[in-house]
């Protein structure tokens, strides 16, 4: 077996911006004093004249991004998810969402895997916040390959896009040579007939591991990667509901308002089947190593397997 390569999607974000700069001359990058952490620092180094630091002022940064887009640029506004989606929510809603401006939000350090910084920086509400804004596209890539493809897809899409990236290095599961990213389309990574696990972000790899474990127990698990949470691939979700009869969702985000909610909404309307949501259970995080936190909060292959067994039993 080949060695598992790990990379944080924030690194992919920084690398993708640099790689795409020549191709998209209107691409411009903003940050709010976190360039070293969000990895836009790579872009700053390569294209200093296309990088503008806004200082520790995320509200203004989002407004500046809106103005840049209104004047024909394609700005990526970067900060931690907590500040990009949280602190600046109302600016994103009114200055970017309402005028439907071509702003791309590069939000890194999403979720509990921020680790040691603790609850104030562990944003588990951003998907919920962003997907309620009309016309906002929300992408949560699973690995390096997908994150890079997502950045280009965001550029090619005319309208506001929220891109969610992580701090923790996660396994590369998609082959860059063959991978095709289609905005708004889920990806069936593993066929299965007993249950569907719909996962997003770093939970996609956990879902694949869980599926492998469960296969050994005779349980056939379909694994769907939902990289675009909005617009949601309802067709794929409903088909999974019809064919497997039950769905388990897995996300590094609150169980309120994120992928689990989006899937439940789609399933309720078109094909009601039991949906079990794995995520952060309406609680704040706390300090600790990211890997330990993920285990503690049940964001693991083991926990997915447990919940799938329950789902099968209840069928």
């Amino acid at each position: 077996m080949s060695e598992i390569i790990k990379k944080a999607t924030r690194e992919s974000y920084g690398e993708a911006l640099v790689a795409l700069a020549e191709k998209y001359e209107n691409l411009i990058v903003l940050d709010a004093d976190l360039a070293a952490a969000t990895k836009t620092g790579m872009f700053k180094k390569a294209y200093a004249d296309r990088f503008y630091d806004c200082g520790i002022a995320e509200a203004n940064m989002m407004g500046v991004a809106a103005g840049l887009a209104a004047a024909g640029m394609i700005p990526f506004a970067s900060s931690f998810a907590m500040f990009a989606a949280g602190r600046a929510y109302e600016i994103v809603r009114n200055s970017i969402g309402y005028p439907h401006l071509n702003v791309k939000i590069g939000a890194t350090h999403a979720g509990i895997s921020v680790g040691e910084d603790g609850a104030t920086h562990q944003c588990c509400e951003d998907i919920a916040l962003m997907r309620t804004i009309p016309g906002m596209t929300v992408i949560n890539p699973a690995d390096d390959t997908e994150a890079k493809a997502a950045v280009e897809a965001a550029i090619q899409h005319d309208g506001p896009v929220y891109c969610r990236f992580g701090r923790l290095a996660v396994p590369v599961i998609n082959d860059p040579a063959t991978y095709k990213f289609e905005l708004g389309k889920g990806v069936t990574l593993r066929e299965g007939s007993d249950v569907t696990v719909a996962a997003t972000g770093l939970m996609v790899n956990e879902a694949l591991i869980a599926a492998e474990t469960l296969a050994a127990e005779g349980i056939s698990v379909r694994v769907i990667n939902i990289h675009t949470i909005k617009p949601l691939d309802k067709e794929l979700i409903v088909k999974a509901a019809q064919e497997t009869g039950t769905i388990v969702t897995a996300e590094e985000h609150s169980v309120i308002g994120g992928l689990g909610s989006a899937v439940a909404e789609a399933v309720c309307e078109a094909c009601p089947v039991p949906v079990r949501r794995i995520g952060v259970n309406d609680t704040f995080g706390h300090s600790g190593p990211a890997v330990d936190l993920l285990k503690q909060f049940g964001l693991s292959a083991e926990h997915i397997a447990e919940v799938v067994r329950e789902a099968i039993k209840a069928k």
């Binding site: 503008y52 806004c54 509200a59 203004n60 103005g67 024909g72 009114n94 200055s95 309402y98």
Partner: protein
């Protein structure tokens, strides 16, 4: 300023004030006070300084204006109508269901450069537009109009810091200093004063002007255009409700529509003023 031009501007401003009253009256809601206080500066900008094209509202090289104090949209809409972006009669549809003239500026309306209305946000968008201009070496200018109460929003000062840092000398922020906000006098609610000192401290070139004297407005904007390396804060000393006697300096006319009797009285005053100008 040339007397003929000044007279023309006064006539445009009178039409715009009538449009404001028409709009707010027919909407049965809206913000007449702060709309009337910026009618003259909008007239001056759209009829003398700004390169705008009613038949090509999205022309890339146009000058831009962001009404950061977006609740005074009636003033901007009436100005755009007077300038030929749409018919003045459309003011009567302001805030109506199905109408395009929304309660606050909306980017889809011809001539509106940015949706605004949540206070403190427009100035940031204006900074972004000015930055794009600098970045590409475009020659357009960007104007933002803010309320004196609006500058209590923290985001305004984030933007102020940003504009000075990036030397956005293609940006002019007009602060409509009429001294009143919803809850009373700005000096009593939560004072943002001294306003000129604050902008100076943030690295802006500050110019003060009489908001209702076209000679002084002209002087101020000519000075603003000569400034390089700094954004300009143009603090205009204005009268809330200017032009309608019973609305002037009355905090109650911040966000109240006139009833029929008040509407007729206001229109009669404005028509009399216009008649005098046209005589």
């Amino acid at each position: 300023m040339d007397e003929m031009l000044k007279k023309q501007l006064r006539i445009h401003a009178a039409h715009i004030r009538m449009g404001i009253i028409e709009g707010v009256y027919h909407a049965k809601s809206g913000h007449p006070g702060g709309s009337l206080s910026i009618a003259d500066v909008l007239t001056y900008l759209y009829f003398t300084r700004m390169h705008v094209y009613p038949d090509q509202p999205d022309f890339a090289e146009r000058d831009r204006l962001v009404l950061s104090k977006g609740h005074t949209a009636p003033a901007l809409y009436a100005t755009l109508a007077e300038r030929g972006f749409f018919q003045m009669e459309e003011m009567q549809t302001l805030r109506h269901i199905g109408a395009r003239l929304q309660g606050h500026p909306c980017i889809t309306i011809p001539g509106i450069d940015m949706s605004s209305g949540s206070l403190g946000q427009g100035i940031s968008a204006a900074c972004g537009m000015a930055l794009a201009g600098k970045h590409r070496n475009d020659s357009y200018r960007v104007y933002a109009i803010l309320g004196d109460g609006e500058i209590e929003e923290g985001q305004v000062w984030e933007a102020a810091m940003f504009a000075a840092h990036y030397k956005l000398d293609n940006l002019t922020a007009i602060i409509d200093n009429n001294g009143l906000q919803i809850d009373g006098k700005i000096s009593e609610v939560c004072s943002p004063e001294p306003i000129p000192d604050k902008f100076r401290a943030f690295g802006w070139h500050v110019i003060e002007m009489d908001a209702h004297d076209f000679d002084d407005i002209d002087r101020a904007f000519r000075e603003a255009e000569k400034i390089s390396g700094q954004p300009v804060a143009l603090i205009q000393h204005s009268t809330k409700g200017k032009g309608v006697s019973f609305m002037e300096n009355q905090v109650g006319w911040h966000g109240t529509a006139p009833n029929t009797e008040q509407y007729e009285k206001a229109m009669a005053e404005l028509k009399a003023a216009l008649k005098e100008l046209e005589a």
